[in-house]
Amino acid sequence: MARMKFICDAERCIECNGCVTACKAEHDVPWGVNRRRVVTLNDGVPGEKSVSVACMHCSDAPCMAVCPVDCFYRTDDGVVLHDKDVCIGCGYCSYACPFGAPQFPSNGTFGLRGKMDKCTFCAGGPEANGSTAEFEKYGRNRLSEGKLPACAEVCSTKALLGGDGDVVADIFRNRVLVRGKGSEVWGWGTAYGRPATGAPQPAKPEGKKS
């Protein structure tokens, strides 16, 4: 069973915001809500780094842990979703999330905080796959169409990778080994040191760290 994951390669992200635009357009995300955004560190300074951020569909999601009405659920593919009919818009998930993924549309005369909205990994919600009700609440359900999230598929530099965590980790590992720099960072072995069974082993550049 696949475990769907995103990873963004900060060495490749050029801050084009193509992922943000694709997400907005694909799901008709309302004004003021950003399911995905690009964060730039040291903006304007030579060597600045950008990274595309959205819900990371955590394996042990803090939003799920703190929700007082238990509106979250995890699909068999590891995608963290929620039921907007149960959500009360309290905002606890927003405080718990380390990525700022939960978003709250302002609607009504007094800017009333609406129900929580977040990245669905293009997997919709609990309504029937591909139905109008699902689209209106959660946006398109690309996974049920045999596609990957729009943000990852549209990324021009392939900085943003999305899909089965094992495959994505293999792609990223190969990339960094070919690049010859980056695999020396702390935690590399734990996160990317074990290729999935049957995955092609990248050639290790000579004289460089792995």
């Binding site: 696949a2 149960v86 796959n129 495959v167 070919v178």
Partner: protein, 82 residues
């Protein structure tokens, strides 16, 4: 039955009716709906369905997504240049 007894019975019945009034009330919180797995396909327009797999076939769907994910790997399309 004496008038005082009658009024007492009426009072008890009224009290019971008030006390049990909430018993027929439905639970306030909505129940979380169950989701259908993505491999079962979409009920939307078939024009949007990706080729290469059949709705309802879990193995085909997983293979389709693996292939699609591997499509993000340019090293599988061109030989890596160290």
């Amino acid at each position: 039955m004496s008038p005082s007894m009658r009024s007492m019975t009426a009072l008890v019945l009224c009290g019971a009716a008030i006390a049990l009034a909430a018993c027929g009330e439905k639970t306030a919180g909505a129940a979380k709906k169950s989701d259908v797995p993505a491999w079962q396909g979409s009920t939307g327009a078939s024009a949007y369905m990706a080729n290469g797999w059949k709705a309802g076939d879990q193995t085909a769907w997983e293979q389709q997504l693996r292939n699609r994910t591997q499509g993000q790997n340019e090293y599988s399309r061109a030989a890596a240049q160290p």
